[in-house]
Symmetry: C2
Subunit: 384 residues, 2 copies
């Protein structure tokens, strides 16, 4: 049974595309940001908050769900959508990145990744085939092929070897994906391939060409936002995106700041995910139109203004910086919730503004506004 | 300027009363349960969740707000209602109980309580006058007189000495309350007196008579639910409630389980507060019509049913026991939120059922149902 995931481009502005991604669980207007629901919940929010914010697609992490509660349990309960009560589209990663970064110990060879659980030290094998099988049990609408995660910085030789292994793993993933189980949880799901190659243009080109030749329903650019300068990332995206099929969705994994997203959209990217709005919200950092705001700063102790004047979210409509600062210092759960609510509203609203700007031909003006608010200086100083 | 807090009894069933408490910030249908928002937020929920659940009045803790962010700051920002963005009625305690139980060190003498902050070790004096002044700065609709908290068990002599000191403190509190500041935050607020006397009927009678003679806008029964058997508590309530003015509101502080509340309503109590629905929710314990349910139990790992079948809350309408268990074991914030949402729905729905039962003369049937579901055995086993 073939994938029922489809992509349609409705409008263009330079390299930017405004489109519609159709999945078995609903439609996603692109460019889109996927809030991260690592363990089947977005930290600090309820699903109904996400619906209200206009989130159309969630990202969940295969590594976490595989270890707890287990993909078998989730499949028996009808798949991830049913288990977590999220009726809309879900994308899952392959689990590779977390197996590399979170597990107690891991070994990588041609077969796959052997790792010890960060929860209980138990030993696990994650192969390309297993990553597909687990995501099949989860029943996500979009699954990702297992790739090898390259540390930054890496030499050209290291990056090449890793990229070539990722290609071999992609072929195995694709083969497994095209051998469906008897009763798939989500028959119409799609599998995306991932372009690797570090910061080396020749490797990125080789990876893109060979991955595209394998024929996936969409393509991701992986291995960016891992410590390289923003300019390097933008250059790699500029160079790689045009190598991917125009008529298929493009996903820039793990990116990024609001400015990163606008810059990547202008270079032809359609899908994003990042923990920044949720994690930074829990740490008291709020994204605003003027830049970042650290709510714990003493200057906000008696500030009656909302975090972001002119913002239409529940947090800004009802609560002062003074109260948000108090909740943060007091360690209240409501601090995480209200900050996350605002930050995700900001991100999702940014995506709406981006889509509108593509349609109306004003993306360049939006980009200038974000460059102003989210220049490296304003980010580093932590102040608008 | 006099208090604008008023109380009206609309219906009776035996000793139980169904009434309406009018405050400067709105009306409370009684018997009522006050969710605890210790530091100006109910742990795990947003105010809009509370509105949706039908919470009409919040309790906040003077000790916490006095220490952080400070009652002066809150007054400068317009009082607690404005500061926390809760437009409805608020009751504050006196801060005495937390100064006794939470502070790093405390000394009590006739003047008041000297304690060290649990936050930074700083030294503070809480006198009856100061407790009124702080609550005036907060601008709560109902303030509580400072009382001395008696440890359980206590001898008759200890309980008598403590009760008599509480009476002297009550007189000082009342005197201060009737000397209003130039620009009160909440001019129409009320002050409630507290009946003490431990488990000794003669002391409870003496305390009730003398406290009522001082003339408050309402009366609380304090010093219960501190470790004494439930029967003893019920007996003290049975004996004390009729000693309080029939036409004024009666508040049983810090109580209790759903059964405790039904039993106390049947004995003439109008107001309740307790951390059980919120704290137990965070610990994975859910209140249901059949009794308590510990969501972490392995038996729920693949249970597709809602926590409480037939419950109309968001949690039960959308999520399975299996998912709630997963969220709890994974330490997700959504676990605290969904469990708290359900538990507070259960408590507030219980109050609605109680009010209805008083009106329709069916309180005894409701009491039997709660006795069945919340007998000590079912409570202690942690299972329905």
């Amino acid at each position: 049974m073939g994938s029922s995931v489809a992509f349609e481009i409705l409008s263009r502005s330079g390299s930017a595309r405004q489109g519609r991604l159709t999945t078995p669980h609903g439609v996603v207007e692109t460019p889109a940001f996927m809030p991260v629901g690592t363990q089947g919940a977005v930290k600090g929010l309820l699903h109904r908050d996400l619906h209200e914010l206009g989130a159309s697609i969630l990202l969940s992490n295969t590594y976490h769900l595989y270890l707890r509660p287990g993909d078998g349990l989730i499949a028996r309960l009808g798949g991830l959508h049913a288990f977590i009560g999220w009726p809309g589209p879900i994308l899952t990663d392959s689990g590779g990145y977390q197996a590399f970064s979170l597990s107690a110990r891991r070994d990588i060879d041609e077969n796959g990744i052997t790792f010890r659980s960060h929860l209980d030290g138990s030993l696990h094998d994650l192969t390309p085939e297993r990553a597909v099988d687990i995501q099949r049990n989860l029943g996500s609408d979009i699954a990702m092929a297992l790739d090898e995660c390259l540390a930054h910085p890496a030499s050209h030789a290291e990056a090449q070897a890793s990229m070539e292994r990722t290609l071999r793993w992609a072929a195995r993933s694709r083969h497994r994906f095209l051998s469906p189980p008897d009763r798939p949880v989500n028959p119409g799901s799609a599998l995306f391939g991932i372009v690797q190659g570090g910061v080396f243009p020749d490797l990125r080109r080789a990876s893109a060409d060979a991955t595209v030749a394998q024929g996936f329903e969409g393509y991701a650019i992986g291995g960016l936002s891992v410590g390289e300068p923003a300019d390097v990332m933008y250059d790699i995206v500029s160079q790689t995106a045009p190598l991917l099929p125009d008529e298929q969705p493009r996903y820039l994994m793990g990116v990024g700041t609001p400015l990163d997203i606008v810059e990547a959209v202008a270079r032809g990217i359609d899908l994003f995910d990042c923990v920044l709005p949720t994690r930074n919200g829990r740490n008291g950092q709020l994204f605003t139109r003027e830049g970042r705001l650290n709510i714990k700063n003493a200057q906000y102790a008696e500030d009656p203004r909302p975090a972001d004047e002119g913002c239409g979210c529940y947090t800004c409509g009802h609560f002062s910086r003074a109260y948000l600062r108090h909740l943060h210092l007091a360690g209240e759960i409501a601090s995480a919730s209200l900050n996350t609510l605002h930050n995700l509203h900001f991100y999702l609203d940014t995506m709406r503004r981006i889509r509108e700007a593509i349609v109306f031909g004003s993306l360049e003006e939006l980009r200038q506004a974000f460059r102003q608010a989210y220049s490296p200086r304003s980010i580093d100083s932590g102040q608008p």
